[in-house]
C-alpha cells in the first residue's frame, strides 16, 4: 500500500491563538476508506481543510504522493483537483443557479473544452443517479439530492482522493445510507475516501480505518474493532460504542460469547451467538448475483418470478435506477451483501442486483464468508447464459 497523503508535525493556530491542531503525524493509504471521528472541536475539519491547501499549516507540512504541498497558484490547482472536498453544508458548496452549471464549474475552471465539460458533467450526474436534473435550481432539491450534486461536482474533476466533511449530517436515514452506498461504489472504483463523522455506527460499519481525534491530536488509529473496543478511550472522546460492540461486550461479561475481537456487523454477531446453525446441511438458500449492465430488466423480472427469490437487494446507482425503471421493489438498499447472507443462512433465497466491479466484489465477499465460517451458500451469478440459469434452477 502506498501512502497518498501524509502529514508531518502539522500544527495550526487560529487568529485568536487557539491551537486547532497540535503536531499531527498521520498518513492515508491509497484506496482506503478512512473515518475521522472525535468530539466537536477536535480539529477534524481543520485537518481536512489542510489536505487540499485551503488552510496553510502554522508549522509542519502536508505531503501528497510523497511530495510536500506548495502554496503557489499552480500547485494549489493541482492539489485541489487531486483532492476533492465535499463540505458539510451543501448550500455552501452549491453556488451556481442550476445543477448543470454547478457540476460544470470545476471542469470549466480546469479549462476543459465545452464538449469535454459536457461529457464529464453527464458522467458525474449519471454516477450519482441524477440524470435529468440538469436544469433544476439547487433550492428545488432535497437534502440528499443536494449532497449528490455536491459529490458530482467533485467527481467531475476526477479526484484521486475525496474528502467529505460530515457527509450524512442533516440527511434522513435512507438518504444517508444511499450516500454511504455510493461512497462504497466510488471506493470500489479506486478512489481513496476520507470522511469525518459523529455517527459511530456509520464509521464502525463503513471504514477500513478509524482515526480518533481529540483536542487537536490523533489519540488512536486502527480498525473499528480496535478503536471502539477501548471503552475508556471512547468515553473520554465524548463518543459512544456502536451498538454491536456494546452488545458484544455485555455478552462477553456474561460468558455467553467468546471471541478475540468484537463483531463488525450483525452478521458476525449472529455467527458468534449461533455458530452451529449453519451446519444444518442444505438448509441455506441461494444468492443470485446479477449484473444490471449486462442483463436486461425484463429478464431479471422473469427470474424473480420463476426462482423463489424472497429478498432483493440493490447495490450501487445503476442497480437502483434499474429497479425503479422496472418497478422492482428492493428490500435492501445498503449493507446488501451482509443482509443477503443473513437471509440465505435462514434458508431463503436472495438476489443482489449490482454492476461493474461490485459484481466480483459481492461474489468474493460471499465466498470469503463461506470459507471463514464454514457455511455453504450457493452463489448463482447471472452473467451466465439464460439456459444455464434455467438448468440451474430446475436441477
Amino acid at each position: 500500500m502506498t501512502k497518498i497523503i501524509e502529514t508531518r508535525d502539522l500544527s495550526y493556530s487560529y487568529g485568536d491563538g487557539t491551537q486547532a491542531l497540535k503536531g499531527i503525524n498521520i498518513s492515508f493509504e491509497r484506496g482506503k476508506k478512512v473515518a475521522l471521528v472525535g468530539p466537536n472541536g477536535a480539529g477534524k475539519s481543520t485537518l481536512m481543510l489542510m489536505m487540499n491547501g485551503i488552510l496553510r499549516p502554522s508549522s509542519g507540512e502536508v505531503l501528497f504522493s510523497g511530495k510536500p504541498l506548495r502554496y503557489d497558484a499552480a500547485s494549489l490547482r493541482a492539489i485541489r483537483r487531486a483532492v476533492g472536498m465535499v463540505f458539510q453544508n451543501s448550500d455552501d458548496q452549491l453556488f451556481a443557479p442550476t445543477v448543470y452549471q454547478d457540476v460544470a464549474f470545476g471542469p470549466i475552471n480546469l479549462g476543459f473544452s465545452p464538449e469535454k465539460v459536457k461529457r464529464y458533467v453527464g458522467f458525474a450526474l449519471r454516477y450519482v443517479g441524477l440524470c435529468g436534473y440538469e436544469r433544476r435550481p439547487p433550492h428545488h432539491l432535497s437534502g440528499g439530492e443536494k449532497k449528490r450534486v455536491a459529490i458530482a461536482g467533485i467527481l467531475a474533476m476526477e479526484p484521486e482522493v475525496m474528502i467529505l466533511d460530515e457527509p450524512t449530517s442533516n440527511l434522513d436515514p435512507a438518504s444517508s445510507e444511499e450516500i454511504m452506498d455510493m461512497l462504497d461504489e466510488l471506493n470500489h472504483g479506486g478512489k481513496t475516501l476520507i470522511i469525518s463523522t459523529h455517527d459511530v455506527e456509520l464509521a464502525y460499519r463503513w471504514a477500513d480505518e478509524i482515526i480518533l481525534m481529540k483536542d487537536g491530536e490523533v489519540v488512536r488509529r486502527g480498525t473499528g474493532q480496535e478503536v471502539f473496543s477501548d471503552v475508556d478511550l471512547i468515553r473520554d472522546a465524548r463518543l459512544k460504542q456502536p451498538l454491536v460492540v456494546d452488545i458484544y461486550l455485555e455478552l462477553m461479561s456474561r460468558d455467553i460469547v467468546r471471541g478475540s475481537k468484537p463483531p463488525r456487523n450483525i452478521l458476525e454477531l449472529c455467527d458468534l451467538l449461533q455458530p452451529k446453525a449453519r451446519e444444518g446441511t442444505g438448509a441455506s438458500g441461494k444468492i443470485y448475483i446479477c449484473d444490471v449492465d449486462q442483463i436486461p430488466g425484463g429478464e431479471i423480472q422473469a427470474l424473480i418470478d420463476r426462482a423463489s427469490v424472497s429478498f432483493i437487494g440493490g447495490m450501487g446507482t445503476a442497480a437502483k435506477a434499474l429497479s425503479e425503471r422496472c418497478s422492482i421493489s428492493l428490500d435492501f438498499t445498503y449493507g446488501v451483501i451482509d443482509k443477503c447472507i443473513l437471509k440465505a443462512l435462514t434458508g431463503k433465497s436472495a438476489l443482489i442486483m449490482t454492476s461493474g466491479g461490485m459484481v466480483d466484489h459481492s461474489q468474493h465477499r460471499i465466498q470469503d464468508y463461506c470459507r471463514e465460517s464454514g457455511a455453504e451458500i450457493e452463489i448463482c451469478s447471472l452473467s451466465m447464459r439464460q439456459d444455464e440459469i434455467e438448468k440451474d434452477m430446475t436441477g
Binding site: D92, F95, P97, F105, N109, P114, I154, M157
Partner: protein, 260 residues
C-alpha cells in the same frame, strides 16, 4: 415552504418554449402598452397576456389574481390622485374636502384610466415573463445579447443566494415569533432590526464560505452557463410577430378614441 414566482417559472406549460420568444412577446407587449395614447391597446394586451398566462402556461388563476392585486391597488390609488389633481375640461364631479373643493375633470379622468390600463397591460406582460421564464434562461438570453459577463455572473450568484437567505430569514423570523418577538409594535421593530443585522452578518460569512468553496474547485474566473437552449419554432415566431403587429395596429387605430 414558500410560494414563489420562481416555482411557477420552473414548472409551467411554457417552460420549454424558447426564452427568446417569450421575452420578445413580453417586452414587445410592455412597449406597446406604455406607448399607447389610449386605454384600448393596453387593455387588449392585459386581456390577451392574462389569457396566455392562464391558458397557455396553465398558471393557477388564484395565484395570478393575487399577484395582480398588488400592482393594481397601487395603480388605483395613484389614479385617484391623478384624476382629482389633474387637468382641465368639463367638471364632472366636485367634492368639498377640508375647506377646499376638489374637481373631477374629463382630462383627469381620461389620464387616470390610461394610467390604470397601461399599468395593467404592462404588469400582465411582465408577469407573463416572470411566470413562464426561469431566471437562468433570462441570464442566458442576456449573455447572448452581450451584457458583460461579470454582471451576469454576479446576478446568477445573487439569484442563487436569495433563496438561501430567504430560508434563513424565515427561520430567524419563526424563532422570534416563537418567543413573542411581535408582542408589541416596539418589540416587532427590535426583532426586525435584529433579523436584518444577523442576516447581514451571515451573508458576509456566507460570502467567505463561498470563496473557499470556489477555490477548492479551482476557481479561475469562469462560471459557465447552460449551453443547451430550446429553439423557437417558425410557427411560434410567426404567431408572436402577428400578435405584436396586431396590437400595434390596434394602438395606432385607436389613438383618437375618447372615453368621454
Amino acid at each position: 415552504m414558500h410560494d414563489l414566482l420562481d416555482d411557477y417559472a420552473q414548472n409551467n406549460a411554457l417552460r420549454d418554449t424558447s426564452p427568446y420568444i417569450k421575452m420578445l412577446l413580453g417586452l414587445g407587449s410592455i412597449l406597446i402598452s406604455v406607448s399607447s395614447t389610449t386605454p384600448v391597446a393596453p387593455l387588449f394586451v392585459a386581456l390577451t397576456m392574462s389569457l396566455a398566462t392562464l391558458i397557455l402556461a396553465k398558471i393557477p388563476g388564484r395565484i395570478y389574481s393575487r399577484l395582480l392585486l398588488v400592482p393594481l391597488s397601487f395603480a388605483l390609488i395613484s389614479a385617484a390622485v391623478v384624476a382629482f389633481m389633474h387637468g382641465s375640461g368639463q367638471t364632472l364631479y366636485s367634492v368639498e374636502l377640508f375647506g377646499t373643493t376638489l374637481h373631477l375633470q374629463t382630462d383627469g379622468v381620461e389620464l387616470a384610466v390610461l394610467l390604470i390600463a397601461r399599468t395593467f397591460g404592462g404588469m400582465c406582460s411582465l408577469f407573463f415573463i416572470a411566470l413562464t421564464t426561469p431566471m437562468i434562461e433570462i441570464f442566458a438570453t442576456l449573455k447572448s445579447l452581450h451584457i458583460p459577463e461579470s454582471i451576469i455572473e454576479l446576478s446568477m450568484m445573487i439569484y442563487r443566494y436569495i433563496f438561501v437567505f430567504l430560508d434563513q430569514a424565515d427561520r430567524i423570523h419563526s424563532a422570534q415569533m416563537m418567543r413573542l418577538g411581535d408582542a408589541s409594535a416596539r418589540s416587532s421593530l427590535t426583532s426586525f432590526a435584529m433579523l436584518s443585522s444577523v442576516l447581514f452578518l451571515s451573508s458576509w460569512e456566507q460570502g467567505e464560505r463561498l470563496i473557499v468553496a470556489m477555490d477548492s474547485r479551482c476557481y479561475d474566473g469562469k462560471l459557465g452557463l447552460m449551453e443547451e437552449e430550446n429553439k423557437a419554432a417558425p410557427s411560434q415566431i410567426i404567431a408572436v410577430a402577428l400578435y405584436l403587429i396586431a396590437t400595434a395596429t390596434i394602438s395606432v387605430l385607436s389613438r383618437n378614441v375618447s372615453l368621454l
